[in-house]
């Protein structure tokens, strides 16, 4: 749990509310998180290989969110469970079956039989596999509006950010120089690439500022 200790790696956003949050912040946050609370994978459902959702910061199995507020921060986590079946394991099982079939019938199985067997083996291995579970902390300073998603994977950051936007009806703006410039309403002309530095061609150059 990086927020509590360990590596400090996070992506930063600024939250913009569509509507003013209600005065009962704890209830608002708890309900929003509960709307997309994590539900474990059902191993019987073959089509589900991945499950995502919000969980409590200090207990990845809990989704009550009672203690979500700490000081000026809302603290929770984004959990991602995935079942992965190694292709090498499937291949090994299928090859064992092909050898057995060939020995029994005197000829190897056909292409369609192999494909069917591959799917059966994949499902069997999937039933036995334990989901790999990862949680990624989220800290939201409710006073400053800054949201930090403590994850190294850009894919996870974007997925968690989208979930937060949907659950809380907020827009999360990345905190980049480009975004900061847009928020400061700097003129477009001032934000074009500096050709002398980036080395792009004349097409990307801004109009010459004759007053400079």
């Amino acid at each position: 749990m990086p927020v509590l200790g360990g590596a400090v790696t996070f992506s930063r956003f600024h939250a913009e509310h569509a509507r003013k949050p209600p005065s009962d912040l704890r209830r608002w946050i708890s309900r929003a998180l509960a709307s997309n609370a994590f539900e474990p994978l059902d191993p019987r459902r073959a089509e589900e290989d991945r499950a995502v959702g919000f969980v409590e910061l200090e207990d990845p199995d809990a989704t009550e969110f009672a203690g979500v507020l700490q000081g000026e921060y809302a603290l929770f986590a984004w959990r991602v469970d995935a079942i992965k079946v190694r292709a090498a394991a499937v291949k090994a099982e299928v090859e064992r079956w092909i050898a057995a079939e060939t020995a029994e019938k005197g000829h190897p199985p056909g292409k369609r039989e192999k494909a069917e067997r591959r799917e059966i083996v994949r499902q069997q291995l999937r039933q036995k596999a334990e989901p790999i579970s990862k949680t990624h902390d989220v800290s939201w300073n409710l006073e400053s509006g800054q949201v930090a998603i403590w994850a190294a994977s850009r894919k996870v950051v974007e997925e968690a950010a989208a979930a937060i936007e949907a659950a809380f009806e907020v827009r999360l703006h990345p905190v980049t120089p480009g975004a900061a410039a847009a928020r400061a309403e700097l003129p477009e002309k001032a934000l074009l690439p500096t050709a002398e530095l980036v080395g792009v061609g004349a097409a990307a150059r801004p109009e010459v500022d004759h007053e400079a």
């Binding site: 200790g5 690439p193 500096t194 980036v198």
Partner: protein, 231 residues
């Protein structure tokens, strides 16, 4: 023989070979061109170029060791330390990585900057009063990676959590202050008129740092202090 003939006929029917049996000229894109297109796309996506200009400007400013900006009336000083990743479009080179304790300030890095390979990712040491932070920043998202925070002062677990969060908030604020100072200069006429020429001079010539630092005025019109790089 018949099998070879069958193979040749099949290749011809697929369009992989011409009547003479030689491979046809497919319209395949040169790998280098594909790479350059990707580099160009990344440069403009989300205005990554602004992030690279920011980190490159910051590298230039940090060489003087003077404060780059201030936060809450306390100076913010920056040093680049360790690994530096440069990216851009410089002929066939789209990325260079420099490693070494003093690598960010090496002449080889300045030469690469001069041809358009700007700072894309860097490890920074940011000093704010008595507090020292380290972090790796990237130009595209300004994500904070592998940051080192000042030592926590509180003992209680709950207090330590809040103190840790406060320090990460402080680190964010320091990065925002640096970006804010950069954008103020970037959007002013001083950028093209003075700062960019000074940066190019620093990139292109050995010993250019000293000369450049004396030539640049602050955007507000304050004269530069001797040895202090402003702009």
């Amino acid at each position: 023989m018949r099998r070879e003939q069958a193979r040749a006929e099949a290749a011809f029917l697929r369009g992989d070979a011409g009547v003479d049996g030689r491979a046809t000229d497919e319209e395949t894109r040169d790998e280098a061109e594909v790479e350059k297109d990707k580099a160009r796309e990344q440069l403009f996506r989300g205005r990554t170029y602004l992030g690279r200009e920011f980190l490159t400007w910051l590298l230039w400013r940090s060489e003087s060791t003077a404060a780059v900006t201030a936060l809450e009336d306390v100076d913010v000083e920056v040093i680049f330390t360790g690994r530096l990743t440069l990216r851009g479009l410089a002929g066939d080179v789209v990325e260079l990585v420099a490693r070494g304790a003093a690598a960010p300030y090496a002449e080889q890095v300045r030469r690469a900057l001069d041809v358009g390979l700007l700072v894309h990712q860097a490890r920074l040491r940011i000093t704010h009063g008595e507090q020292v932070f380290e972090a790796t920043l990237d130009a595209e998202f300004l994500d904070v990676r592998a940051a080192k925070l000042p030592e926590l002062l509180t003992e209680e677990e709950d207090d330590r959590l809040l103190e840790r969060l406060a320090l990460t908030g402080k680190l964010s604020a320091l990065v925002d202050a640096l970006v804010g100072t950069f954008l103020e200069i970037r959007a002013s006429p001083t950028w093209r008129r003075k700062v960019v020429p000074a940066m190019k001079a620093w990139m292109g010539e050995p010993g250019a740092a000293e000369k450049a630092s004396k030539d640049v005025e602050a955007p507000s019109g304050r004269p530069a202090r001797a040895g202090r790089r402003v702009g």
